[in-house]
Symmetry: C3
Subunit: 275 residues, 3 copies
């Protein structure tokens, strides 16, 4: 890449974005991610490529949706987010692009953007059909390389969102469960467990705002109040806290709650509130 | 780094490249990779450093060669690729630089570039001997830091390839096995297993181009045709497909073929073709 | 990010640095790291963010201190290093910023900078108290996002170090053990084991400089000299060597010494020297 060419690209009016994030289940050993980055840099050598995560478990759409929801809002306006957790690659599932007020998202239409749709007031969703933007020949097994990466890179150099393909309304809104409420009880479940073994539920602070908590119960753990910080308990003790993600979380101070209590995704959690 | 200095470097005619990729077996915990990046940025603060992978199994030259072959051709012209999978560090093995029509490669001369040599019409190979380009004192255990990273960075700021050291012809061409063909049968083997458990063989589409496939057999799995996509089978079923890498691959739809069938690297695979 | 804005930021006199490194125990699956990068890029879209490592074991302050010590000195002047291994998040432990002659460091005051203090002649340490630099509301569980990342980004765009908060002198100097010496013996211990199973001790070359080594003993392994390179032994044989980090290391050529000999962090190692 000769500097003069870089300069020309940079100075072009078509350059309107530079940050492209990647969130995949491609892991950290194979060539998948490195290949996508090459494609992006060939189209936009000026791009700042940021890895959100490539450690999503293979095909774990729910985890990817959660990780995206935790991170995207902290990025500058105009960021292009690419999400490739795509167990249905090669089937009839669509490739889509989504525009919100601040950002663009490129992903398979399999529900991985479910938490994005839930969080944003306005999402315009388009099916990606303009094959001029693809890498050819398009494989049937690696659309991260052949469709998602090049489309994101083209958007980042000014290709208009509206040109990608037709707007659609029957997109996959995902299947994230909301907690149920009945007579003094909020019944939720564990939806994500992080590296530290913290058990993150689908119960948000808003679900019991203004109400006094009587107790919190998960499996045979009973906690009588929400803690303000991990440090409030002794090392090794369990606590309930509203985590940095805004959801009710069960943690063990300087320990791993998931391992200690043998709790997995889907485990029920109950919050008893005063009426 | 004061911006004025950056600007001077950027505007200098010596800056002719900016992308440097890293492919190593250094993993994601130790200081190895972070140290190499520091060296590169000290020499070329304008570099765009891209991680291809650091998750190659320790010393797995074959895997690194395969991952490189999958990714390098997607990078812009002028990219400098650094490959450090170097079980022989501190022995007499040479450090080499390779120039192809489009890119530069820095690596130990241990066969890790074998698939590159096989894929490129013209490779000029030089032994790296100009110790002015090294970080001193040069250790006997970490040439990624002391030789490979600084040489790559110097190339990226315009040090001429020809100045690195003498051209050599007796470089290590690697030992990747080609499939054998006999009377209606192509006999290959599994050369790489990816994160999804897909079993990638050394049989390429060209090996049976124009021929009709009668069946494909690996261990006690028999498949009667090549599938066009994972979606063609039911979830959990095995299939044979030409993967995005161009090789015959055995996969399980939304499953892990390697784990399901207990198949490892080196396992024989046979394709029976109509004569 | 419109290019004109980028240009303005770049040309501003306030931009004095561009490299920000990250060293955490956040792993490679969750949203923690991606979130920190978003925060940084929102404040300084011109930043070059470099991952040192996110694979530190949860809460392993000693390992993080070692990895930092191996890598920071190779970075350009003005680099801002962010270290978030923070088991005490939400307790009274301080957030600190440290200035050395060449670089800036942002971390919790829990000893993770112990090896930095030991290596640098002059460190100015400030408690970070200027909450104008934080992301609000500040959570009690994720100061990487709310304090450490934004403070680092603000430093990189020219916020003066002195404005972060008051200088302190009672900071946590860490607890890295030095080897003991008695009558012809240096008694150290294993302080880090790398991906390759190399056993790194706290005995540095300086500890026996000028002295002839009679033998080296760890567990039931006895070695009669320091090797110059891994290649000096046969594949699978143990050796002692001064590693690229400057410490005495026990390795197995093309093998894993930690696994082969069942040796863990804290294991005693003795060097017998001629008096």
């Amino acid at each position: 890449m000769v500097l003069g060419e870089l300069k020309k690209i940079r100075d072009s009016k078509r350059v309107t974005s530079k940050i492209i994030t990647l969130l995949t289940d491609f892991g950290y050993r194979d060539a998948f991610v490195g290949t996508m980055k090459g494609i992006i840099l060939r189209i936009n050598p000026w791009a700042t490529i940021v890895d959100i995560s490539h450690g999503i478990d293979p095909g774990d759409i729910q985890a990817a949706s959660f990780v995206l929801a935790q991170s995207f809002s902290f990025y500058p306006s105009g960021t292009v987010h690419v999400i490739v957790v795509d167990p249905g690659v090669g089937t009839a599932r669509k490739a889509i692009a989504v525009k919100t007020e601040k950002a663009l998202f490129i992903a398979p239409d399999n529900g991985v953007l479910g938490r994005l749709y839930a969080a944003q007031e306005k999402c315009v969703v388009r099916e990606i059909t303009d094959s001029n933007l693809f890498v050819h020949p398009v494989s049937r097994t690696f659309h991260g390389r052949d469709i998602f990466a090049p489309v994101a890179a083209h958007l980042s150099v000014g290709v208009p969102f509206a040109s990608l393909g037709p707007e659609i309304h029957d997109y996959n809104r995902g299947s994230s469960k909301l907690p149920r409420k009945k007579a003094g009880t909020i019944i939720g479940e564990i939806i994500y467990i992080d590296r530290f073994g913290n058990l993150i539920s689908n119960i948000s602070q808003a679900d019991f705002s203004g109400k006094e908590i009587r107790s919190i119960q998960i499996k045979d753990i009973h906690l009588d109040h929400l803690s303000d910080s991990y440090g409030e308990k002794n090392v090794g003790e369990a606590l309930a806290i509203i985590g940095s993600h805004g959801f009710l979380e069960i943690a063990v101070r300087e320990g791993n709650a998931g391992v200690k209590y043998g709790i997995e995704i889907g485990c029920e959690i109950r919050v008893f509130i005063c009426r």
